[in-house]
């Protein structure tokens, strides 16, 4: 899959430097020098960069200039990296955002203060948020 705009009536022919590869969720993709993670993945046909931590609904780029935080991915084990602002480097290991165990799903029982949060979360076993 290649979604590159090779020829442009005003901007001219696409002159890209040598391509290299990186991985996204274990699969290999191609990147050009100067690509961001978001642009290289979209060129490779990938729209979904993460899922909502709680509902697991899919998300992709929205603003593409670093403001909306929708495109956060894990890069070489660093979480919450904005795909739209991060240049791809050879052999980079990128992983999509995954759902997380929700500490409180019951609306009625939501903690309202930090103290309440600490008390309630202590009672919940296997909670990876605290």
């Amino acid at each position: 899959m290649n979604n590159r705009i090779m020829n442009h009536p005003v901007l001219g022919k696409l002159e890209k430097e040598a391509a290299f590869t990186f991985t996204f969720d274990g699969k290999e993709y191609q990147s050009y020098e100067g690509d961001t993670i978001a642009s290289a993945l979209l060129a490779g046909g990938v729209r979904t960069l993460r899922v909502h931590e709680n509902s697991a609904s899919p998300r992709g780029i929205y603003c593409n200039i670093g403001h909306c935080m929708e495109c956060r991915v894990t890069v070489n084990d660093t979480p919450s990296v904005r795909a739209c602002l991060t240049e791809v480097k050879p052999d980079m290991v990128v992983e999509s955002g995954k759902p997380k165990a929700a500490p409180f799903t019951d609306r009625e029982n939501m903690p309202h203060t930090y103290t309440e949060f600490e008390q309630k979360s202590k009672r919940k076993a296997g909670n990876n948020h605290v």
């Binding site: 690509d35 200039i65 929708e70």
Partner: protein, 402 residues
């Protein structure tokens, strides 16, 4: 400690850096995007005289000039906090801390959201996102899309997508709701369309001239707006159709579009499904000013300038000692205005540093006149009453000083 740190390597920031370097100030420019140029990079439109405004070329000119003056430009640097110190500022970033006597914030603008149901699906993006993908990264955002939001910016970018060979079904309004407000209101949208009619070739130009620039004319234009839309560059623009939802499970598959009354209310049973694989949402721009707020700079809400703006005077100086602003953070205008403002702000900083203001009076006056001339000659006006907005902010500064 540097003389000045400039946050934002867009047209305003780079122009300011050039001014400062010409007077040999110690300057560092930071920007969180991997390349300098800011949103100027993505711009591509034809001026009324037929010349192309190519943002990549314009950026290169600015960058070559700045580089020839040995300007320190650091990309991939995100600023998340600024502290005002006794003799300047401490700028905290992901790449360490910068200490500076003066600070210029030239962070530009961000896009307002115009949310419609289904807008979190992959394949929905802001119109500016599509611009950057298309012109900067040269990646197709999809095979066939639709634009939700009809305004100066979305019309310009729709044309850019078309130039790159990306198919657009049409442009229509986002369904009117508590957030989309005037973007979903045919009358307000028509007001904006008439202001950009001069930019479009043949068909739309003829359309624009058909209606007098009167309220009556605009009412008529909305009331009798053609069902098939009005074509600009061969693409239908609708002000009497709204996108009510974006549909799909894992990504965008279609949109539901309906006819609306002149007041934006949906007409029952007029819904139709249009197959698309991407949607661009265009809710307009607002000044990106959080960093000025963090320092405690006073603000004023000025509608004509696009939102909350840090108070500043005609020399781009804020009431906070050593803090300057330039470009779209001061109000939504074209990149040419941003460049002229940057040049002026840079000179203001120089004047503050050398403290021999009289020797610079002439140059400052020229730079200020340039901002005004560029503004008056702008082919794209984001807001019709920009001059009034500018006056409001300058008078707010005088009150602040009094």
């Amino acid at each position: 400690m540097s003389d000045v740190v400039i946050i934002g390597a867009g047209p305003a920031g780079l122009a300011a850096a050039i001014s400062c370097r010409q007077w040999n100030l110690d300057v560092t420019v930071i920007d969180e995007f991997p390349k300098p140029g800011g949103r100027l990079l993505g711009q591509l439109h034809q001026e009324p005289d037929g010349q192309w405004w190519n943002g990549i070329e314009e950026t290169k000119k600015l960058l070559d000039h700045a580089t020839s003056l040995y300007t320190d430009i650091q990309c991939g640097v995100s600023c998340y906090n600024i502290e005002k110190t006794e003799n300047g500022f401490t700028v905290h970033t992901n790449k360490g801390t910068f200490h500076t006597k003066n600070l210029l914030i030239a962070t530009g603008a961000a896009e307002s959201a115009a949310p419609i149901p289904g807008w979190t699906l992959p394949g929905v993006m802001s119109i500016g996102a599509a611009q950057v993908m298309t012109n900067v990264h040269r990646v197709r955002v999809g095979n066939k899309g639709i634009v939700a939001g009809v305004n100066v910016l979305s019309a310009a970018i729709a044309r850019e997508l078309q130039l790159a060979g990306v198919e657009l079904h049409s442009m229509a309004l986002p369904a009117k709701n508590a957030v989309t407000k005037e973007h979903g209101d045919p009358q307000s949208v028509m007001d904006g369309l008439i202001r950009i009619a001069h930019l479009a070739p043949s068909a739309f130009l003829r359309f624009g001239s058909k209606f007098a620039k009167s309220t009556w004319g605009r009412n008529m234009a909305v009331k009798f707006y053609p069902k098939r839309g009005v074509k600009m560059w061969g693409m239908p623009i609708h002000v009497r159709k709204a996108i009510v939802s974006i549909n799909g499970t894992e990504k965008v598959e279609s949109v539901t579009i309906c006819d609306v009354k002149p007041n934006g209310e949906p007409i029952p049973k007029s819904e139709k499904t249009v197959d698309v694989d991407f949607v661009c949402i265009a809710g307009g721009l607002y000044p990106l000013a959080e960093l000025a707020a963090v320092i405690g700079c006073p603000f004023q809400y000025v509608e004509e300038l696009g939102g909350h703006v840090p108070i500043h005077n005609e020399q781009m100086k804020t009431p906070v000692d050593g803090l300057f602003v330039a470009g779209n953070i001061t109000g939504i205008e074209s990149s040419k205005v941003a460049m002229a403002q940057g040049e002026l702000a840079g000179l203001s900083i120089v004047q503050q540093m050398i403290r021999d203001s009289t020797s610079m009076d002439e140059q400052m006056r020229a730079a200020r006149n340039k901002v005004n001339t560029v503004r008056e000659n702008a082919s794209i006006q984001f807001h019709p009453n920009i001059a009034e907005g500018r006056e409001k902010i300058v008078s707010a500064f005088s009150k602040q000083q009094a």
